[in-house]
Amino acid sequence: MSQVGKLGYVDSKLGAPTSGQQTTRILFNTIENPGTTSSLSFFKNFQGLTNGQTNLTQNKLDSMESMVIKTITLFQLNSANILRNFGDLAQQTLSVIVGNQTVVKNIPIHFNQGINGQAFDRLHENAGVQSDNVTNPTELVQTRMPIEIRLLTDIVIPPQVAFEVRIESNAAGYETGAVTCALAGYGKIFSAGNTF
């Protein structure tokens, strides 16, 4: 089933509105100054974040909006805006919780990365590869790439249902800059259409 068909199917099962502007949707959320921790929860805290750090104000979509997640992106910046390895290369797992249901469970985030994992996805064959040639990278000389996990099945976030992305580790180091999670895919946004 295509992602468009899947979203329409789930929305109709839930009685959610099926009208709206079809579009590409990317949701993102940032955690400032994460430090060393065993657990990160994205899309949980929006207080004090600007539009450059998140594009939501609550952990759910509006009543007329829904989306299908196709990829999950994670990256870590230090306080000098230099892109770093996420969690200092520690083994970490990612879960996506929608409502009361875990829809992605403890998936290892480095599995698709070249530097310390296996690139199962040819689309991202060299993602995460790090160069040793630049010993002192700057924010303008980027030596690695963000993590992007391509999901094999379509995960739906319905309207008005709380969701969360959780990263767990054994005290991974995220430094004092910021970590960001982005959920990208196909979605519907509210469209007044002929209503108004």
Binding site: S2, G5, N51, T71, I82, E148, A178
Partner: protein, 202 residues
């Protein structure tokens, strides 16, 4: 994609009453423009810009029976000497563009981020590798800054104005980053194009 690009164009054209769009020339195309005024909008001032140095359109709407199904949106930076540059290499890895695509009176893409460090949904995560002669591995990466609109290409119909509204932020601090003449932001809209074809009408 649930619908092919051509089917999507014809579906929307039919909804809009554009009965002759299906007889036009199907093609591939991209339009671009740069916000040289640093106004926060791209394409809305295209009629005042040098062609093709800054833009390849004369106004931010298509002629009768011309259209573009936007399938990828990409961003770049242009300086005052006219050089096209990579967004990450000008603004640094911590920057993010947050943009809306507006067609007519309707916002069809909403608060969409494009991260300088490498954007999700480019389907080419690596971007460009810089490999100096004699070096075994890349020394740095210049990521791509694109949004691939998988499954949901959006049609810009004929004779409807469109523009991209954007702001640039620092992800770590959340502060707004002001563009300048030397760091003006440009945008490509790439996809399946419909070109006016006189064969059936003249």
């Amino acid at each position: 994609m649930a619908l092919s690009a051509q089917d999507k164009i014809l579906y929307v054209a039919n909804k809009l009453g554009l009965s002759t769009l299906g007889q036009m020339q199907g093609s591939t195309g991209a339009v671009y423009d740069v916000d040289t005024e640093v106004s926060g909008q791209i394409f809305s001032s295209a009629s005042r810009h040098q062609n093709p140095g800054v833009t390849n359109i004369t106004e931010n709407q298509f002629e009768v029976n011309e259209a573009l199904l936007v399938e990828t949106i990409a961003f770049y930076v242009k300086n005052t000497s006219g050089a096209v540059q990579n967004f990450q290499q000008v603004y640094g890895s911590g920057a993010v563009i947050v943009f809306d695509l507006v067609i007519g009176n309707k916002r069809v893409m909403k608060d969409t981020p494009v991260f300088a460090a490498g954007s999700p949904y480019t389907f080419a995560n690596v971007g460009n590798q810089v490999n100096p002669v004699g070096e075994a591995s890349a020394t740095s990466y210049t990521p791509r800054h694109q949004v691939y609109m998988e499954g949901a290409g959006i049609l810009i119909p004929p004779q409807v104005q469109w523009y991209v509204d954007y702001r640039i932020f620092d992800v770590v601090t959340g502060a707004t980053i002001a563009a300048t003449d030397e760091t003006a932001l440009g945008c490509y809209l790439f996809g399946t194009r419909v070109l006016l074809n006189f064969n059936t009408s003249i």
